[in-house]
């Protein structure tokens, strides 16, 4: 009796809600939308994504693999007493094997972290703090990622280490003789990234590894931009520590990994204390869905590495050919050996930010995302000897697995159009055309 009464009330209330308010809500929605989105051609506006160096979209196959672990298999992988935990743990171990297989490591040598930044922190700070009685000197390069540079600086300022920041050559590569000359008896660690995220230069990782192993110095490399795009074999290349990132290889954000060599064994002081998960190096419940996503992304990358590389190489060539009508374009990086998916170009007499603004239909970046908040031009470009003016006018194009030829063509055409338009407006360009050396000008200043 009561139940049917409530049902009647419920139905009436539900019906009342539906009829009276639906019309109102539809009206509200259209008002809201029309207030928000002004020009009609701006509706559903989404630029072409050409910033693959900053992050990559999640591969649908990775998403498919991750989804059950978000919805159904939610057990804590460290719960050893029930099937929920066992299922999650089994999938995490499978992910570990997939990552290890990509870099020719043992699955026990992989620990999951929250990303390459954390991996770099653990590697640089953790290694140095553990071995601080035997070592006092770290060698790194001036074009490392900010997390490596900042970790080194922390050690320098607060813990009394000495750091050598090697200057790269003009093409971005580290000179091996300079590296060897920097070795000291108390050098313990060399940290040089495999592929730079701003200019795409690839270091000779195998040669650096061999040099370090010969001198009994450990070698750490930040390979976030390298894995899945170029073959990395940690055993062949004598790498002791290596950082990986999920969202650079079409995996999820918020996960990364650190390869820690077992033979010869590398010990680290953990940054995060806790229950001793991940061999005591990184405590905390694993985000197993993210870890599984990273594993699947690595598996796909291993399968499709050659195809992706060829795809990016073709797109890169196509792009550069299509903009070849532009003059005074500087290629920042290593033209022969650099990665073809990261293209960093400077356009003389064009201001980078205004070019980016003009190219509103394409998502690009000037300099790396992590330094885009600062107003200074990229420190990487400065390290490779780029002029301050050219550094200000640099744009980074990131090509990826999902970039199409149409997108590249559109970007190239727009780029040519806007560079020419901005140069037409620029008095500096006129002076450049006339052959005046812009550096020789004494700009009047108000003292």
């Amino acid at each position: 009796m009561i139940r049917s009464g409530i049902a009647i009330i419920g139905r009436r209330t539900a019906a009342a809600l539906t009829e009276a308010d639906m019309a109102a809500s539809v009206k509200n929605a259209s008002n809201f939308k029309s207030r928000l989105v002004e020009p009609s051609d701006q509706r559903d506006f989404r630029p072409i994504y050409l910033d693959a160096a900053a992050t990559t979209p999640l591969d649908p196959r990775v998403f498919d693999k991750m989804l059950p672990y978000l919805t159904s298999y939610y057990g804590n992988p460290h719960s050893v007493s029930h099937a929920y935990g066992w299922q999650s743990e089994a999938a995490v171990e499978q992910a570990r094997e997939q990552i290890a297989s990509l870099i020719n490591a043992d699955p026990r040598e992989i620990i999951f972290t929250s990303g390459a930044t954390e991996s770099n922190n653990i590697a640089v700070k953790g290694y140095s703090r553990f071995y601080k009685k035997k070592m006092n000197h770290i060698i790194t390069s001036q074009i490392e990622h900010k997390c490596v540079l900042d970790s080194c600086r922390q050690l320098e300022l607060n813990e009394g280490f000495e750091i050598t920041y090697l200057k790269p050559q003009e093409n971005g590569r580290i000179n091996l003789e300079e590296l060897e000359a920097a070795f000291r008896p108390d050098t313990g660690l060399v940290s040089i990234m495999a592929v730079n995220n701003e200019i795409g230069v690839m270091q000779d990782v195998e040669a650096i590894g061999k040099l370090c192993r010969k001198n009994k110095i450990r070698f750490h490399t930040d390979a976030a931009q390298a894995i899945g795009k170029t073959p990395i074999d940690v055993k062949k290349m004598n790498i002791d520590l290596m950082s990986l990132s999920g969202h650079k290889i079409y995996g999820p954000k918020g996960i990364g990994a650190l390869y820690v060599s077992r033979k010869p064994r590398v010990r680290l002081d953990p940054i995060i204390s806790g229950g001793g998960q991940e061999r005591g190096l990184r405590s905390g419940t694993l985000p197993h869905n993210l870890a599984i996503g990273l594993g699947e992304a690595c598996r796909i990358a291993q399968q499709e590495m050659a195809a992706d590389a060829e795809h990016c190489r073709k797109l890169n060539e196509r792009f550069r050919e299509r903009i070849s009508s532009l003059s005074h374009v500087t290629f920042n990086g290593d033209e022969e050996g650099g990665m073809s998916n990261i293209l960093n170009l400077s356009f003389a007499a064009v201001e980078g930010e205004s070019l980016l603004m003009s190219m509103s239909g394409v998502a690009l970046s000037s300099g790396s995302a992590c330094t885009s908040a600062s107003l200074e031009p990229s420190y990487v470009l400065r390290a490779i000897g780029s002029d301050v003016d050219l550094a200000h006018s640099s744009i980074r194009f990131g090509l990826g697995r999902f970039t199409t030829e149409e997108e590249v063509d559109y970007t190239a055409d727009k780029l040519v159009e806007h560079v020419n338009r901005l140069r037409d407006l620029s008095p500096l360009w006129d002076m450049l055309q006339e052959g005046i050396d812009l550096k020789s000008i004494q700009w009047g200043s108000h003292h």
Binding site: R108, F130, R262, R265, R267, G276, R279, G280, L281
Partner: protein
């Protein structure tokens, strides 16, 4: 044995049917060897244990003694939860006389390294106590116990030997 024999034997009173022990050798417990005293002065190996409170214990062990069981005999505070089965890291010690004795110790096996990885407050001169066997060359070995093992309780309580 056929069915008839089995039936007959099972119906016999116990003093006729043979009672077979499980073990055919004399049972010996782990750590028993360390309870034997050194047979001669040449056998003696002097070691020093520095425990968590900083107190030094000078112990006279003998050649072939396991460092952890020797400590148990003399009531030194090393926790040996797995009793030398290489399944835990609670007998973690620091080899203080690194310069003299580190190279004389046997290379740690991969399993020992794995267990050591999980020990808190790991240092470069860390080893598992249960993997160190005394030899004559290790005369004068000094080992220090870390301030806590994996089973640490913040109120300072220590697990008992079982």
């Amino acid at each position: 044995m056929n069915r008839l024999t089995r039936t007959v034997l099972s119906r016999l009173p116990l003093k006729i049917a043979p009672v077979r022990p499980l073990s055919v050798t004399i049972p010996k417990k782990h750590g028993d060897f360390e309870w034997e005293d050194p047979k001669s002065p040449e056998d003696v190996v002097n070691v020093v244990y520095q425990d968590r409170d900083g107190i030094e214990h000078k112990i006279a062990g003998k050649v072939g003694d396991n460092l952890m069981f020797l400590a148990h005999r003399h009531d030194i505070d090393i926790e040996g939860a797995c009793e030398a089965a290489l399944a835990c890291c609670t007998c973690h010690v620091y080899v203080e006389t690194e310069d003299e004795h580190w190279d004389l110790l046997e290379e740690p096996t991969e399993d020992e390294e794995d267990m050591l990885d999980m020990a808190p407050y790991l240092q470069e001169n860390s080893r598992l106590g249960c993997q160190i066997t005394l030899t004559k060359e290790l005369e004068g070995l000094i080992v220090r116990l870390p301030s806590a093992t994996r089973n640490f309780w913040v109120d300072g309580a220590k697990p008992e030997h079982h």
